[in-house]
Symmetry: C3
């Protein structure tokens, strides 16, 4: 790929990731389906309800988001690594805010690990795995934790910074 | 537009949207004015105080942000659709954090729906309409809700995901 | 720089800023070190523990993040100004969420003011200064406040918007 082709492809990939977030907040499930390959494999965690094979199963599964009254999915920290002109791996972060029917809030700071394939001018998500960097409020969906290096043996926290 | 022209224009448009957020947190109202056309139409909601015609009225109106002690406007999910070489429509999302004088917090998860026009190398906001995807804390400004598809008749929430 | 060179360089700079956030959440301190020049000057605030000279001192200093149980650093609002083909100044914003060992949360809405230099294909951070636009929960690290214009004399807040 030329530099311009790579910049364009990266732009298109980010457009796909953004469309997922915006369509989810709008609960436009049909639009979400068009962002994935028909044979996509998606896992938001080990719970059976969080794993799907294929576009139709994914779309049906995401209806679960209607249990929230409102949501806001804000995407950032997008990185892309190309694997030839028609394949890519992407990692991105999402600040996912959810409001339950009773007004209680639940926040997920998550990571999407995706592979994407080019279909014409568009890039579709072929596999997606979600991880959790943090959570807040009433968020209890069992999304698996992202890896974090532990401190070395004998490390002691500094004092005085948080007083 | 060539692919490179489109990438550059998109970059410039995002720079304008970012400058709005940064200048608002800095309360540099003069700088904000320069991001809009002189005849801009801006609506943050149906309340008369939230609607302005023209750059000068917008700048005067945004002085209302001084009622907060601090703010942080973080932009993401930017999408752009070009309408010829000098016009574009953009949709973006903002995580707008506000702190009142007494320390109370108010958060808005909002959508900006903009049209922009090119003036030389810069893209200026010609129309802006804000919508609200979510809110938290003491945020009570009457920004209109973003559209969200309702669940189909008879839909029942899944169980066991949030326990 | 040609437009394409500038777009590519901007992309690489943003990749560096993102890698910092992602590596910090993963506590991969070695990876963080590779994003800075060996002679980097970094200041998160006037406290002696928040200032370092050189890559090694920075890496050693950032071990302090292990006092948190989890963190999420979400980057946005990136702006870049080039200073020739191998130098740039960048400003970006971070939503930095921290969870203490006891589950208490601390949030920083911060600004990174960086200068970067090109080394081969990569852009490394040469100087970094952090400022604070807002904070929430138990965040008490003495990051210096970002500048915000005060209201003009005699300004009075509007009424009725927050009721």
């Amino acid at each position: 790929m030329t530099p311009v082709e790579e910049l364009l492809a990266r732009r298109r990939i980010e457009d796909t990731l953004i469309a997922y977030c915006n369509s989810l907040d709008r609960m436009d499930l049909e639009a979400i389906g068009q962002l994935f390959t028909t044979d996509c494999t998606v896992s938001y965690g080990p719970h059976p309800d969080l794993q799907t094979e294929g576009r139709d199963a994914l779309v049906a599964s995401l209806a679960r988001l209607w249990r929230w009254r409102r949501t806001a999915h804000h995407l950032c920290n997008v990185t892309v690594r190309f694997d030839g002109p028609s394949g890519a791996a992407s990692e991105s972060r999402v600040h996912a805010w959810h409001e339950a029917q009773d007004g209680a809030e639940a926040v997920l700071f998550g990571t999407y690990r995706d592979t994407l394939v080019r279909q014409g001018d568009n890039w579709l998500i072929h596999t997606r795995q979600m991880e959790m960097n943090g959570s807040s409020g009433g968020f209890r969906v069992p999304v698996p934790p992202a890896f974090r290096h532990p401190p070395p043996d004998g490390w002691t926290p500094p004092t005085g910074l948080d007083d």
